[in-house]
């Protein structure tokens, strides 16, 4: 009785219109290609525009000299040093916490509300504008809520040995050993800048590390457990070594984001003329993008057009190198499961 209800499906009803659909296909293809090429075209134009202005000014003085009032002498030695040290510190600060959080979330976290909340929170932090991190850094690291001003209740309560000085902060010595010195608040120091940058990239580090850890197939973990291995052993001797190249790649890419960040450091007061190399991590500093911004704001066209472009070129080369290393690492250690 069902069969009677069947309406015949007739091929004649199909007007396939193959040729018209193939035309639509071709047009669509061209539109898509254009949208990809637009981005790449812009990248090319941008690089050419900058290279034309700056290539001749990438010369030894750029690396050997500090900023000078004479464009022909001007360089960005302290900015390069500042960028490198801040980036290294940023890596140092964000790596353990970021990877730790990634391990926790991938390997330990139970499926519960708190975990959901942490996940949501991390995604959220990844979308917080960098300038907001600058404001966080200013208040928390730069000023430390004013807790360490001379007569604050906090200082009085804990009897903190504060030594007033014209260093942008106060310092106290731990056990009188200079390398343990800590300046409170962190003021405009590299430590403050790097801590701020660490928070800024932390969500990216966590997300990238999680991906690397997740890419290790569960079968590897099972193989480990089945041999009588504890959880931390499985993670420490199997998962992390395998995920490490991926984690490192994510780390480098995150740092390459940090190295170009300007706004948070401006908020923290890193827009400074620093004609010396830092001696300690508590020194004032400036970084390459700020030096570029500084040059863009100077009156002489040599700075605005040429030196700024030269600085940008250096920054771009550093970025390309970091990206290149990341891609290389990814390729080299890629495992075909």
């Amino acid at each position: 009785m069902e069969a009677e209800k069947i309406i015949s499906i007739d091929t004649k009803h199909y007007k396939e219109n193959i040729s018209r659909r193939n035309l639509a296909e071709k047009i669509f293809n061209v539109i898509l290609l254009i949208s990809v090429l637009f981005g790449l075209l812009m990248l090319t134009v941008l690089i050419i525009d900058i290279a034309v202005g700056g290539i001749a000014w990438v010369r030894p003085e750029l690396f050997e000299n500090y900023h000078s009032r004479k464009p022909e002498n001007a360089g960005m030695k302290s900015a390069i040093a500042g960028s490198i040290i801040v980036i290294l510190l940023t890596g140092l600060f964000s790596f353990p916490v970021g990877v730790g959080a990634a391990i926790y979330l991938e390997e330990y976290a139970p499926k519960n509300r708190l975990t959901d909340f942490i996940n949501l929170n991390i995604n959220n932090l990844a979308g917080v504008p960098s300038i907001v991190y600058g404001m966080l850094g200013l208040v928390v690291f730069g000023r430390m809520f004013g807790l360490f001003s001379k007569d604050s209740w906090f200082v009085n309560l804990f009897n903190i040995p504060i030594e007033s000085g014209a260093t942008g902060g106060w310092k106290f010595f731990l056990f009188d050993i200079p390398w343990l010195e800590i300046h409170l608040p962190f003021g405009r120091s590299m430590v403050a800048g790097a801590l701020t940058m660490s928070l800024l990239i932390l969500p990216i580090v966590i997300i990238a590390s999680r991906e690397a850890i997740r890419a290790v197939p569960p079968s590897i973990r099972e193989g480990g457990y089945a041999l009588g291995t504890t959880k931390w052993h499985v993670i420490g001797t199997l998962v992390l070594p395998i995920a490490f190249p991926g984690i490192l790649t994510g780390m480098i890419l995150s740092l390459s984001r940090a190295i170009g960040e300007t706004a948070p450091l401006i908020i923290m007061g890193a827009f400074t003329y620093v004609p010396f190399l830092p001696k300690t991590v508590w020194d004032q500093f400036t970084v390459i993008p700020i030096q570029i911004y500084n040059w863009i704001t100077l009156p002489q066209p040599e700075y605005r057009v040429h030196l700024a472009a030269a600085g940008i070129l250096v920054l771009l080369v550093i970025l390309f190198l970091m990206n290149g290393i990341a891609i290389y690492l990814r390729k080299k250690f890629e495992i075909k499961w």
Binding site: E16, R21, A24, E25, N29, I31, L32, I34, S35, V36, F38, L40, M42, V45, L46, D49, P96, G100, A101, I103, Y104, E107, Y108, I118, L120, N121, N123, N124, L125, G127, V128, S130, I131, Y133, M135, L138, V139, R143, F145, G146, L199, L202, I206, T230, K231, L253, I259, G260, T262, A263, I267, G269, I296, V305, I312, L315, L316, L319, F320, N323
Partner: protein, 320 residues
């Protein structure tokens, strides 16, 4: 030839179970601390922004209503009064950047994503995608510089000289164009991930019914990945809203209630940078005003992030 596997060699090996369990436990707690740290960061952001912002709103010279509704933003004027603290010009400037850059980046980003995910060969894709992502990695100072030295002059030549439309040297449009270029890869990358997460079996199902690639892409893949794509859009837009240096350099510094993108404007972020060069210390009204603006900015992106996260979550659930 078989050597005897002595089980006894294994008996002595274990550190006592208790010691081992203690170690496992300490590790787990440490890692938990790392996981929870991100919550501390959020709390830190909220405290640092809002503690100062609340001080701002508690001042007699300002109030929350005129802050949110007022159309004049003159916090630097010497006479401090509520009508000089209307944040809407900054919000409008910010949104103008977001809308224009979005209308550039969203279609181009989506087009790029479709191309990369559906059309490009693996090799082409492995070249195109990182190149495109370089765009996102370029410091935004560079984009500002590019806007001033390249985009604005072109606008001047094309619009002002040829068509007689006035183009301010500092204008929202140039800044928005470069911000748009900057967020293309963000939109493209996240959308592409969403589209590649659509199982190949769905594409095959459609091909097997006699669909062309165009039909498969637009009628199956894009709809299936829609929430991921929307979320990419939101993330891109929220990036544009938070963008700082490019708009500081190229969009001008005039908090203006305008709808003309060829005028100079000021965004929330640019205002914060502007005041920061005054290194306003805690307590002064200028110093507090940036925290009020910062808090507003944070709330805007926060809401957008929450929305995109919830969309993305629902999307992931479909295929898991």
């Amino acid at each position: 030839m078989l050597k005897n596997l002595s089980k006894s060699s294994f008996i002595s090996f274990y550190n006592p179970q208790r010691v081992r369990n203690l170690r496992e436990r300490i590790i787990a707690i440490t890692l938990f601390g790392c996981g929870v740290f991100s919550i501390l960061v959020t709390i830190g952001i909220i405290i640092s922004l809002f503690s100062e912002a609340i001080g701002f709103f508690l001042r007699p010279e300002v109030n929350l209503i005129t802050f949110l509704t007022g159309t004049n933003w003159r916090p630097l004027a010497s006479q401090v009064s509520p009508e000089n603290f209307g944040v809407r010009p900054l919000i409008r400037g910010t949104l103008m950047i977001a809308v224009i850059s979005g209308s550039i980046a969203l279609p181009l980003g989506l087009g790029s994503a479709i191309y990369l995910s559906e059309y490009a060969s693996d090799r082409l894709r492995s070249i195109l995608k990182p190149s495109l992502e370089l765009l996102a990695g370029i410091p935004t100072v560079v984009y500002g510089y590019f806007a001033l030295s390249f985009v604005t002059p072109i606008l001047k030549v094309v619009l002002e000289d040829q068509l007689g439309i006035r183009v301010s040297f500092f204008n929202a449009f140039s800044a928005a164009v470069v911000v748009g270029i900057m967020i293309i890869p963000i939109v493209a990358s996240i959308s592409e991930d969403a589209m590649r997460a659509v199982p190949r079996s769905l594409r095959e199902g459609a091909y097997a019914l006699g669909a062309t690639k165009f039909e498969v892409s637009t009628k199956v893949v894009v709809p299936a990945a829609l929430s991921g794509i929307i979320s990419a859009f939101i993330i891109g837009i929220s990036r544009a809203i938070g963008e700082t240096m490019a708009v500081t350099i190229a969009a001008g510094a005039t908090p203006r209630m305008t709808l003309n993108p060829l005028d100079g404007i000021q965004t929330m972020t640019a205002f914060i940078v502007q005041v920061s060069f005054g290194d306003a210390p805690s307590g002064s009204i200028n110093g507090q005003s940036i925290f009020a603006v910062g808090a507003t900015l944070f709330m805007m992106t926060f809401v957008m992030n929450i929305i995109s996260a919830s969309i993305l979550k629902r999307f992931r659930e479909v295929y898991e």
